[in-house]
Symmetry: C2
Subunit: 500 residues, 2 copies
């Protein structure tokens, strides 16, 4: 093969350059070329083994899945609109440096684009960083917006549990300098409204504050430099038991056993206003400025949530940490409490379906002068919600239509294609949703069967006699009733019969 | 700097490995590491020069642009639904090999993802190839679907004219074995409906057939091997004059001047049924099997388009070629005839706003057994349409609302935050779109001003007297009228006053 010869020649070139102690950059360039040629060759050899699939961790949405997706989106977006949000959209990729330094340990999960000349790009990892970039770029200091779009994470997919590498986030954020906890409370109200609306079963919204966590770390004796990494360990508490987290803190991260044990006492606490009051009296925590600020704001937050009547599903939980680096105040996460479908491997914890928090420093990282725009927001992770609704739908055997077609234009005899085309064109132009079979002479039975299969409720049948009489025979599929309708009244008749 | 020292150490490692004539793969690995460290260092140095922008050829959509976008999407999607299409969605990236060999000379414009271990991926270039992959993967032989999503091309952006590297396509396709030209005619009807609906001014849909083109090339004496590349040259005729195209054919592509001149005579022809009849009598063309098939189908197509009543805007045009490799039959392209806004640099040709055609071989390229599924489809390119509507809106000074908020919950006195929170929560729970200012004690004037700015039509004002009386003062922003409404009737009153 010619390609193989070319690869050998390139290998020779590389060898020669190295013997000659050539410029390292030139050698690197030729080595890269060699590796690419080898990869290319491997690809060509594998052509007959072409794999027909979507990339790992991704999936297609067929018409049935799309119908479920639309329902969920509608519930979420109408809630966002109810709260007065505007909508924006941003590109699917950002300059690589826009994402750099925003996600802490998760940064390794970012998808980079290949350097094909020009800018270095990465796929967006969430919608929060692009929003902060948008605010800074347009010098906006005040905005309430939602954004529904796909984000990308090179994580280990667990698709049966709704964990993908490409997935939708539905974000609502409030940017601006306001009186404390009012926008924060609204974000929690939104989560409560959406999860109630979707009827996913019982749920709990855990709330904490980064300032309380940091204060707690300080009074437990965690050195400043270890705050973020110990925070990452605490974040695992919803998945692994305390003993494991403790040994990670002490073993891997070098925390003293005493400090770890002190943390262990705090992180098992959860409750409501009572717990907040109790901690405000805690001799150590109440002496820490950050923790005190956080606890006082938490108290205010709970007062507002009481006015909203939603404290029943809110738990102040000292074990909630959230992985991302950019949070600075209140953080929260909503979990579904039990899975109603028993076919799923892990019936107890469906995991988080929404999360968010306050990030007052992120916009400032983009502003050339470091001007801060305080923000708080919530992100609804809908893939898990999809998984649940999809399984529920399958179990229920409910039939969902995947089109909205009102009428099939059919013919009872041969040679009426032209008449069908004329009629369907009239219907389309009048705004009626209409289909016909793409056959010159379809059998009536096949046309009726198509309606049964796809749920089309009406059939408009053209026949020679009807054409002479200036009527169309309208058949109601469900009842098999047939009525002759004057051609000029057909549109109105279809509208009446399909309006509910 | 510690980083600089690390880079120097790595450079030493590379030098040593080369001197020792180490394994080339290991050297390559270390060189790659070195280059990455250098890049990293460059990044760090450049931190203060951080550029706040979206990637080249992309843009954000702010709330105003989104409002226009929604309008356009609604027009297009309701047309697709009117024609009975289902909807699907596919991942934004595909396996690289899925896209390989589908786009001819345009393949160089594909965005590849960086090889971070695992599969090699590319961003989708259009929605047609993913659709064909979807059909083959799910063994679907029959489907009418639409898909609205972003696609990616590393092209030279010309953003003022609506040419981007990330842009939306709105695709409608019909897959399946049917009687000739019926689905093809429907695709043209759809383009006609959408462009009429959007009121973009006069438009023309050019139609041709790859078989007519290939037959024409054959009778003009173009060698088989040059069909595709000469087709690419013809494709440029909407942008450059014939003389230039001719010299590309003869000079760059080695076509004989005589063959080029014969092509030159054909490609200036355009018309309707008359031209089709004339070419069916053409002594050379009519002898070519492919051309004859294409011309006979074109005649059938025009008969159907006559029944649809849309031939007035359709032109059979022998110069239309379309760049993509996968077309096998009818091809078409819609152009706007003149720009109504004069601020644009090129007032005459706005360029193509929709295109499509028949691709009967593409699904077979994915099927392990090569089973074919004939397809025809249309793609609406909405960025140019956006550009036009955006400019028109700016010129008109029409004010568009970017939220749907019905009522602002306000207070006339201080210390009523709790009451505002209680009332707004009631309204949200009743499905009313409501906002409030996130301030403890906002001034009434500021609250009214916010309504003026954002177009909120109603204000629900809580005051101490009203609370005692069990009423809320409802103010109509436009008329400044104020009425007291009993609290239990407030939701109903807001609904009535905002329902048109």
């Amino acid at each position: 093969m010619a390609e193989e010869a070319a690869v050998r020649a390139q290998a020779d070139t590389v060898r020669r350059l190295k013997q000659d102690n050539a410029d390292p950059d030139q050698i690197a360039k030729e080595v890269a070329k060699l590796l690419e040629m080898k990869a290319q060759l491997g690809e060509d050899e594998g052509k007959h083994k072409f794999v027909l699939k979507t990339p790992k961790g991704t999936r297609d949405y067929g018409p049935k899945q799309m119908a479920i997706r639309e329902r969920v989106f509608n519930a979420i977006i109408s809630c966002f609109k109810r709260h007065g949000a505007e909508v924006i959209d941003t590109p699917v990729f950002e300059l690589k440096e826009t994402l750099t330094g925003k996600y802490g340990e998760d940064s390794k999960l970012i998808y980079d684009l290949k350097d094909q000349g020009g800018e270095l790009l990465s796929l967006r990892y969430d919608l929060t960083v692009p929003f902060a970039r948008y605010l800074a770029m347009n010098k906006i200091t005040n905005m309430k917006r939602y954004h529904v779009a796909k984000v990308y994470r090179r994580d280990n997919p667990a698709m049966t549990r709704g964990r993908y590498r490409e997935f939708y986030q539905c974000d609502f954020d409030i940017a601006g300098q306001f009186d404390p906890m009012i926008p924060d409370a609204e974000c929690l109200k939104i989560v409560h409204e959406i999860l109630s609306d979707l009827e996913l079963g019982d749920f709990l919204i855990k709330v904490n504050d980064r300032r309380i966590l940091d204060g707690m770390f300080a009074v437990c004796g965690v050195p400043d430099s270890k705050f973020r990494t110990i925070c990452s360990s605490v974040d695992k508490l919803d998945k692994v038991p305390w003993e494991e987290v403790r040994s990670e803190m002490v073993g891997e991260k070098g925390l003293s056993p005493e400090a770890a044990d002190r943390i262990g006492e705090y992180v098992q606490l959860h409750g409501g206003l009572d717990l907040i009051e109790q901690l405000l009296q805690d001799p150590k925590l109440s002496q820490n400025k950050l923790a005190k600020e956080g606890l006082e704001d938490m108290k205010l937050l709970f007062e507002y949530l009481t006015l909203f009547g939603i404290t029943g599903k809110i738990s102040f939980d000292l074990s909630l940490a959230r992985g991302l680096d950019y949070y600075t105040g209140v953080i929260f996460e909503a979990v579904l409490l039990h899975q109603e479908n028993e076919h799923v491997e892990e019936p107890v914890s469906v995991g988080s379906v929404a999360g968010g928090g306050r990030y007052d420093g992120l916009v400032g990282m983009f502003d050339p002068k470091g001007r801060k725009v305080p923000c708080v927001g919530v992100s609804i992770g809908i893939e898990r919600i999809f998984s649940i609704l999809e399984q529920r739908l399958e179990a229920s055997e409910e039939k969902i239509r995947t089109t909205e077609t009102q009428v099939l234009v059919a013919s009872a005899q041969k040679k009426l294609l032209e008449e069908r085309l004329k009629l369907i064109s009239e219907l389309w132009d009048a705004g009626i949703k209409a289909e016909m079979l793409y056959k010159k002479n379809p059998k009536l039975l096949n046309q009726l069967q198509y309606c049964e299969e796809t749920g089309i409720p009406l059939v408009a049948i053209v026949g020679e006699q009807e054409l002479k009489d200036g009527v169309v025979k309208l058949r109601i599929v469900a009842s098999r009733e047939e009525v002759n309708v004057r051609r000029e009244s057909l549109v109105e008749e279809i509208r009446i019969r399909t309006s509910q």
